[in-house]
Amino acid sequence: MIETRELSKYYGEIKAVDRLNLTVYEGEIFGLLGPNGSGKTTTFITLMGLTVPTSGTATIGGYDIVKDSRKVRKIASMLPEGAGYYEDLTAEQNLNYICQLNDIPKPERERTIKDLLEAVGLADNAKMKVEKFSRGMRQRLGIAEVLIKKPRVALFDEPTIGLDPQGTKEIRDMMFRLNKEQGLTVLLSSHLLYEVQQTCQRVGIIRKGRLIAADTIGNLSKKLSKWKVTLELELAGAGPDLIREIKGINDVMSVDQEGSKIFVHMESDRTREVSEAVIKHGATILLMRPKEHSLDEIFMEYMKEGDQ
């Protein structure tokens, strides 16, 4: 649905987006994860034609983002970071303006606006001026504006920034619902791991304008475990000798004990050697499994990778 090829945007020396190759498939929720200043906003505004790329190309729904920018904006919506509204107009009037710009015929407008306000939970605030809106309400109004054109793709740039947990949950549920019920393809950016972990089926990690990795969370975890394996153990009858022996095994980097659990961090998979040692020392294995890495760790890991 979205495909970028070597997409780049440079500001003089600064490479805000650097040869980005990104694919977002139809019907998925894709998360672009990166720290502040990594180029998420630049990527988004380039895709929507708010600025022109320095080099490279990209398409949305098959339309070139530069040559067919207007067609792109017919099928794709964006909720920009820090989206603004006309403060002295009501929610309804704000939506009405966007409806007009989308050529929604007058008879349909009223219906569309009413339905959307209901969908985002602002039906009671239709006649309220936006200046009185809370952050969460503004963001929901933004989502209503995004949906006016009945888009096939929606780009949300840090949609939950500055929201409380309740507001965050509402926005996330809304994205899920749109994705499920209307098959909306969602590209979401965030600097919060937790958020993309909760929301996205696939994740791309961006750093200094480069896409470092893009995959499902499960696969990213697996990739990480290729470099580092952690074994979680729970033993009965384990003495200090055993721990020393495990520490002595080739490739084992460290052994941590947390309560009854033992974590063995290894450079490569030495599960067999570890279990042999346990049996040799006459201890019983209550539990033994490779530990899943949280996206948190993966994120940190990739960030470090990028530094090298």
Binding site: T41, I45, M48, G49, L50, T51, R70, K71, R73, K74, S77, M78, P80, E81, G82, A83, G84, Y85, Y86, E87, Y97, I98, Q100, L101, N102, D103, G142, E145, K149
Partner: protein, 318 residues
């Protein structure tokens, strides 16, 4: 085009409802009506002055032309100076440009909306002036005078849209409204006041007139030489003032009205030049460079704004 019309309608509605516009409109309307009233007094005392004197006959310096010379820049600039940068910083411009419209619809719409608001202001003020004057005078403009009024109204609108376009340009090149408002106010002061002071100073410096020493001799001012020197001063002063579109408007407007009673700048407040009625064709024939300069200025300002706006990167942070 549909996009531009939508933007235009919104902008027009915004202007008409804005305190800024309403206050300026009320001020102009009040002063113009007063000046029209004064004009009728003048016409009563000078029976052959003709209907057009309602636009120029006011003795206290605020003829309609003068009001436009002085307030015109601020009216036009006021409608334009924050049109782009305010939406840029507030983040509404990003939302707007994510809609399936051509980007130029936004800037065209803003220009059209502002022009409509200015046209409404100019046309209704001129209309009301005529409406006030006719019952008092007991007669209205003849065909030629009516034509003059229409042309004058058009000139006024183009002149005001020049300032609007300049305001839009300021609004596009600057990121903060505080910068563009400063630019606007400086330009206004320069074009409506400072330039006439500079022109007078330069002229006096360039053409020194030696006052005869000794006892005051009024006869010296009547000499041929003195009059020539004064003439040279006036020419220099005039040519410098022509940098200001307000001055060009004053020249063109007064000629179209067939009066030369307009005044320009503080130095000339209330000191109307001698009445001199030009035929309409003659007025247009001699003043077309002034008219053309205003039109070209407006087109250049808008074209620059348009180009900049189309290339601009839109980020909510500015």
């Amino acid at each position: 085009m549909a996009g531009a019309l939508t933007v235009c309608r919104k902008e027009l509605a915004d202007h008409l409802g804005s305190r800024r516009y309403v206050v300026l409109f009320a001020l102009i309307l009040l002063l113009s009506t007063l000046s029209a009233y004064q004009g009728t007094e003048y016409i009563k005392n000078n029976p052959n002055a003709g209907f057009m004197a309602i636009f120029s006959g006011a003795r206290f310096g605020f003829s309609f032309t003068y009001l436009m010379v002085f307030f015109g820049p601020i009216i036009g600039l006021a409608l334009g100076f924050d049109a782009v940068n305010k939406e840029r910083t507030s983040g509404t411009l990003s939302v707007l440009l994510c809609q399936p419209i051509f980007r130029d619809s936004v800037i065209n719409g803003k220009f059209m909306g502002g022009t409509a608001a200015l046209s409404l202001l100019a046309a209704s003020t001129i209309g009301i002036m005529c409406g006030v004057a006719m019952p008092i005078l007991g007669f209205g403009p003849g065909f030629e005078d009516a034509l003059r009024i229409v042309l004058f109204a058009l000139l006024t609108i183009v002149y005001l849209t020049f300032w609007l376009a300049l305001g839009l340009l300021f609004s596009t090149v600057t990121k903060k409204t505080s910068t563009s408002i400063l630019l606007s106010i400086s330009t206004w002061l320069f074009c409506s006041i400072v330039i006439s002071i500079i022109a007078a100073l330069v002229a006096n410096y360039a053409v020194p007139i030696q006052m005869p020493s000794g006892p005051f001799n009024p006869g010296a001012q009547g000499t041929q030489e003195y009059r020539e020197l004064m003439q040279r001063r006036t020419t220099i002063q005039m040519n410098i003032q022509r940098i200001s579109p307000a001055y060009l408007y004053n020249e063109a407007g007064s000629s179209i009205l067939g009066t030369m009673g307009g005044s320009f700048g503080f130095g000339e407040l209330g000191r109307g030049t001698p009445f001199q009625r030009l035929e309409l064709t003659q007025a247009l024939a001699t003043r077309w460079p002034q008219i053309l300069a205003i039109v070209v200025g407006m087109v250049v300002c808008f074209a620059a704004t348009y180009m900049l706006f189309l290339r601009m990167e839109i980020r909510p942070e500015g």
